[in-house]
Point group: C2
Chain length 198, copies 2
């Protein structure tokens, strides 16, 4: 390499990241860099408080959480209801708890798709998902010890439109699956401790 070449060499062009798909892409990468430098900032705790409303109806509030070295509040205290449907002797005041799991899974994967598409410079037009969870209620009704209580399986179908070839859109979904918190929880299980006070 000549001296001249060294003098005129320019640094490899920095990838310019711009907001895309409603994602603050530069902010997202800055966040990743901060946690890379200070891994303890990645420790978060999310919380929910449930209140029995009578029958099989519960209302949950999600408001405060900790992470990035501090306490945070959502911009409002979010509430969500869940209940059993009439066919299961409930009052149907909300979706069933198992449908709420499907909602959590849809939302987590979709947020990942939007983030990853933005990071890869792909503009999305629409992302729709259709989730199905099969469950044999002989488990929760106490009629069988062979039948599990929860879903026997979940199927997620995505219909995704964006400015990229099919293969690239599929790779984005694949990467969203590889880095989804809820897919990990639902697929691999989590230790749950339960304590009761009267």
């Amino acid at each position: 390499m000549s001296a001249h070449a060294i003098e005129t060499a320019t640094p490899a062009p920095q990838k310019v990241r711009v907001p895309l798909n409603g994602i603050n892409t530069p902010g997202l990468f800055a966040t990743i860099d901060v946690v890379k430098g200070q891994p303890q900032l990645g420790a978060f705790q999310f919380r929910a408080t449930g209140n029995w409303m009578g029958g099989t109806h519960t209302q949950t509030t999600m408001s405060e959480f900790s992470g990035a070295g501090g306490e945070h509040s959502h911009k409002m205290a979010f509430t969500a209801d869940a209940d059993h449907p009439a066919v299961l002797c409930g009052q149907d005041n909300g979706p069933t708890p198992v449908e709420c799991v499907l909602h959590a899974l849809a939302a987590c994967l979709t947020a990942g798709i939007a983030n990853i598409a933005a990071a890869r410079g792909v503009t999305l037009h629409s992302v729709q998902s259709s989730l199905e969870g099969d469950i044999d209620l002989r488990g929760i009704l106490g009629l069988s010890n062979e039948v599990r209580n929860g879903f026997s399986g979940i199927h997620v179908g995505f219909a995704i439109k964006g400015d990229a070839p099919e293969a690239k859109l599929k790779e984005i979904v694949q990467q969203a699956c590889a880095r989804s918190a809820v897919l990990d929880i639902v697929s691999n299980g989590v230790a749950v401790s339960v304590e009761t006070n009267t």
Copy 2:
């Protein structure tokens, strides 16, 4: 045993089940009996459709489901939002997907507590739950392959008041845990298949 005793013997008293805690207890037991006689009626499928709203915001609709040998609709199409909070570069238009998992778990266990208490003739006054899920975001941010994407653990605390001794209330919570669909899903994991169409 004398003939007189035989003549006057009455059948063992039938347990009278009455509605309690807002639970239609006789209806619940009738449902269990029906599924016991026709196990195929226990096969349910719950569904959700997710729609990307931009950024990391998803809105899910939960409306139709099948089970008990037919198709059902909730009394209305329930919708739920989820988003990432500002500290994670989201617009905070709803709880996070992982908080939705905590909501599902709280609601499922609480519905079970109410049903089981009613079945055991225990009047409940209040059931409150407080859930915490710890998560190290280095997983979903792609900064570590050793850190899992989902919660490392979930803690559920119940504060329960009812017309029964502490031990009986604790047994009810224990039985709700033993027959909870969402606790099973979250603890033990479920096979999830994902398909993408463009």
